[in-house]
């Protein structure tokens, strides 16, 4: 009897928080189905060997990240960019603001260490990506989906559809609640409760794991298929329309809140890519 050899995969970690790797560790069904050839967080290997699939997490922040990325992609058949940092910058975009960047670079001159690049860049600025797996981090289930076959992964279009909270017609908040609303009602839509939740336009697949326990969606999975190939203005307007229909909150209040720095964590950076002028990612390539 000949056993089929399990496919080999590797995980290259660039500059990030390792949350993607920790999530992958929780998707432990891969142990029986895949051969993990390289993942410095858990193996003693220093170079990426030949593999079928290469998962890349983190942004390209230093010259060493760039070198490692260019070396690693030569040795794989398929490249999967995992997590928001690798795909669209994520939290690193907060550091790409000009006023922060100048201060940062002026303070971080060191000897004999990887040199920091002017900005943190997504992976596909430098190499072609076969599959994007957005999320901060992607859930273990999404990781399994990416490894086993993204075409078979079943998910709703948006986080909103996966959330299941009741939307009420007659509960219209007049202002945003901020985060000081006290206890969150467990069953009612967070927008009805005045929270700036963007789950209505955010890509599904996470099973609404933030909104169900009561935290508004911050959009870490990026835009849904309907919006993904359009520019960020369309995404912004779609959120504004939802709030106009479901609340009495003044449009300016929503606009200001949506464009505040903390939402640049995730929002509006995927489609037009935080101003790099790259073409939008085709939705077929995004899980």
């Amino acid at each position: 009897m000949t056993l089929k050899k399990p496919p080999r995969f590797a995980v290259l970690q660039l500059s990030g928080c390792a949350g993607c790797e920790v999530s992958l560790l929780n998707a432990n069904e891969w142990i029986d189905q895949f051969d993990l050839a390289f993942m410095p967080l858990v193996t003693s290997a220093y170079d990426v060997p030949e593999v079928e699939v290469l998962l890349i997490s983190g942004g390209v922040r230093s010259d060493e990240d760039l070198h490692n990325l260019r070396q690693a992609v030569k040795r794989t058949k398929k490249i999967v960019a995992v997590g928001t940092c690798a795909i669209s910058g994520g939290v690193a975009n907060l550091g790409n603001r000009d006023e922060v960047r100048r201060l940062f670079l002026s303070q971080t001159e060191r000897h004999d260490l990887p040199r920091l690049l002017p900005k943190s860049q997504p992976v596909d600025t430098f190499v072609d990506v076969d599959l994007y797996l957005p999320g901060c981090p992607p859930t273990p289930e999404l990781f399994m989906g990416a490894l086993l076959g993204p075409e078979d992964f079943v998910a709703s279009k948006t986080v909103c559809q996966e959330c299941g909270r009741k939307k009420l017609k007659d509960m219209k908040p007049a202002h945003l609640t901020g985060s000081r609303g006290g206890e969150v009602d467990p069953d009612i839509c967070l927008i009805n409760q005045g929270y700036l939740c963007v789950g209505s336009s955010t890509r599904g697949g996470c099973r609404a794991l933030c909104t169900r326990p009561g935290h508004p969606c911050v959009g870490c999975r990026g835009p849904s298929d309907i919006l993904i190939e359009k520019d960020s203005q369309v995404w912004l307007e779609s959120i504004q329309r939802i709030f106009a229909a479901m609340t009495d909150i003044p449009a300016e209040e929503i606009h200001e809140a949506l464009l505040s720095p903390q939402l640049s964590l995730f929002l509006f950076q995927f489609s037009d890519y935080a101003g790099t002028g790259q073409a939008p990612r085709p939705k077929e390539k995004v899980l």
Binding site: V22, T43, L103, F104, L113, P137, S179, E183, L209, G214
Partner: protein, 437 residues
Amino acid sequence: MTTLTFPLSRIEGHARVEIEVHEGEVISTRFQAMEKRGFNLMVQGAPAEQMPVIVPRICGVCSTAHHVASVKALEDAYGVQPPPLANQIRELLLLGQLIQNQATSLFVFTMPDRLGVESIFHITDEEADQTSQFNIAKRALMVRQLGTDLISLAGGQFIHPVKAVVGGVSSSIDQEKADAFRQRLKAALPLACELVDYYWEISLRMKDRIGTWGDDQPAYYISSTERDNPRYNSSIIRVMTPAGECCREFTANAFRKELTFEETDYSYAGRTSYQGGVIRANSLARANMTRSMGIRRADAYMRRLRREFGHPAHPILLFDLCRGIELVYAIELASQLLEVDFSHQEIDLHYTPRDGEGWGLVEAPRGPLIHHYVIEKGNIAFGEFIIPTVHNMLAIERALRVAAERYIHDDQVDLELEQAVGRVVRAFDPCIACATH
């Protein structure tokens, strides 16, 4: 002069060790953190109330500790005291973090050193142990998953949790889920103990092979857990002298006065010292600074530790054994804390945000973690993160020097040095993403 460079894996983040040698004499040992993202600057201008969402992204391994520290810093600035049940849920979050972290460090990071394998996923049943007959990787990950599932239960999701909010928590824990999880913890406790026993045994075997538990000198110890029954949702930092006397207590807002921080030109992480002396944080510090664990199984391990190594104990590799004690402790304690009534109790208070300054402290798996924010017009004007790994930097480099001197001779370098470097660094379980943030 020759420089020996050792890249490191099986730790959190990108780091390496450089040892400078001249004619058999060790000139310097450097632990270099190789990455930097600049969170202290990235948070500038962000709305203060969003910090609990932003700062967990400092580190996916330690995100829970940052989440809770951030909420506590805002509460300090706003003058809010969360209700008792919210504090209990936060303690459960931190215990989940501890289970996850200690299981990862023990089984994923350091067990391969003891078994001479590339990774826990490369342990064959023969290498593991003919008699034990179990798949170590799966069982270890099962125990680790107790931690991540506990974080999900108490925090909404296990990486970058969301449920701690200023004034409390956004939702309680469902009573049925709490009961079911308690049963799961109880059922898993013997399994965790078995793994810890096995870890202790292979550590003894390794010690016999290499002839040492890591013979560095005593150091100052720092922890924010209390004298009795460690709790991780902490409020006071304590320092212990190398001889074992508690010499200082201070609150988070005094850290600048009590500790000395400096940058180095060869690493993206800084380092701290206490009155010019080397400090150690993390599991061994807590074990040395607590009277007892206050729970049966964990105390049995603690007694064994003290019987075999005395009190306070100093060898480097005891950090790893102490992680095992804490793993058992966290599983036992979480199971106790889940017995409370989670319904019909206040979990969140209304509050009024205001400008000002706040400090938030928790005992993270690697030691005391402090977030310090200055808030102006509702936004962060200044933010800093005092990271436990940074307290251990001098201790790591000193321990590396001891190892280097042991294995570098006038005429040759013992090949064991590479293993020793890995063992020493992993004993401190440094987190580079946090240390450099």
